[in-house]
């Protein structure tokens, strides 16, 4: 499945792993914060309206 990367396999795979890790942290963090704030806002709005 993985193409023949020769003697630079560690460097290439390492670079992709670091990138995917950082992107996953950025996207995951953004989604989690979005969900948390949306939930908190909904609770406060319901409290104010209720």
């Amino acid at each position: 499945m993985i193409p023949e990367l020769g003697k630079y396999a560690t460097e290439v795979l390492g670079a992709y792993a670091v990138t995917l890790l950082l992107l996953a942290a950025l996207i995951g963090g953004s989604l989690m914060r979005s969900a948390k704030v949306r939930k908190q806002l909904k609770e406060v709005e319901e409290r104010n309206n209720g």
Binding site: E11, A15, Y16, G29, L41
Partner: protein, 243 residues
């Protein structure tokens, strides 16, 4: 004709971005996956750099966004300073964590790529050093937003810092041309045929660059929505405390 300034209204921004986000998410995912799979699995090794050329498909788009995020932040900051639209200030704030992540990716992948090509992970080369300073500018910008409680004062001060950071981002872009004694090569995508990468690498690279731009736009929209909600949440909670 509808004015672009209507999107400065938080309600209008929330409504429009909610409609755009699902389609944009799919488009971003498809572009990124196709670009990265094409670049990683279906491109040949370079005759000089071997398989490390595959690092280009993440390094170049990340560096592109690390620099150009400042452009977006600059425009948003200027809109805030001139027209006092809160959504634009919040959009600039929302972009910074994305920009700093892109800078980190560019720095890490550059270091990993540099070791086999230059024999070192790091050198005080103009492009590398200017990217490190760019990273510090992002840190300072985010810290300033976090440190000031008054949101308008924070937006004012960070807008001024953003102008300085943008000048530095421009310098980073052209550092290779200004100070040509460094290790880093010129632009991979260039009108100069001698510098421009071969078409076999160019098309997947172009797709990856488009994918990173789309990812940036997607995340800025998502994070700006969160910033708007956070602002409203703080207002409502402050009102609750007063009653």
């Amino acid at each position: 004709m509808a004015s672009i300034w209507q999107y400065a209204n938080p309600v209008k921004f929330m409504q429009t971005s909610a409609k755009v986000l699902p389609a944009l998410s799919v488009l971003t995912a498809v572009t990124l996956i196709v670009g990265l799979v094409w670049g990683f699995f279906f491109t040949p090794d370079d005759y000089k750099q071997g398989s490390t050329v595959k690092i280009m498909f993440i390094h170049v788009p990340a560096a592109l966004m690390a620099i150009n995020a400042w452009l977006m932040m600059l425009v948003a900051s200027l809109i805030w300073l001139v027209r006092r639209h809160h959504v634009s200030a919040l959009a600039a704030r929302a972009a910074a964590p994305i920009g700093i992540t892109m800078t980190l990716i560019a720095l890490f992948t550059g270091a990993i790529w540099g070791q086999p090509m230059w024999g070192t992970y790091w050198a005080w080369d103009p492009r590398l050093t200017s990217f490190l300073v760019l990273f510090l500018f992002y840190l300072g910008y985010m810290a300033l937003w976090a440190a000031i409680e008054n949101p308008d004062a924070a937006a004012d001060l960070t807008s001024v810092l953003c102008m300085v950071g943008s000048v530095f981002a421009l310098l980073s872009r052209y550092a290779v041309n200004f100070w040509n004694q460094g290790l880093h090569q010129g632009a991979s995508v260039s009108l100069d045929k001698e510098e421009h990468v071969n078409d076999v690498f160019f098309y997947p690279l172009l797709l990856c660059m488009i994918g990173f731009v789309l990812l940036f736009v997607l995340l800025v929209l998502l994070r700006t929505r969160t910033e708007i909600r956070t602002r409203r949440l703080k207002t409502l909670m402050a009102r609750e405390r007063m009653t």
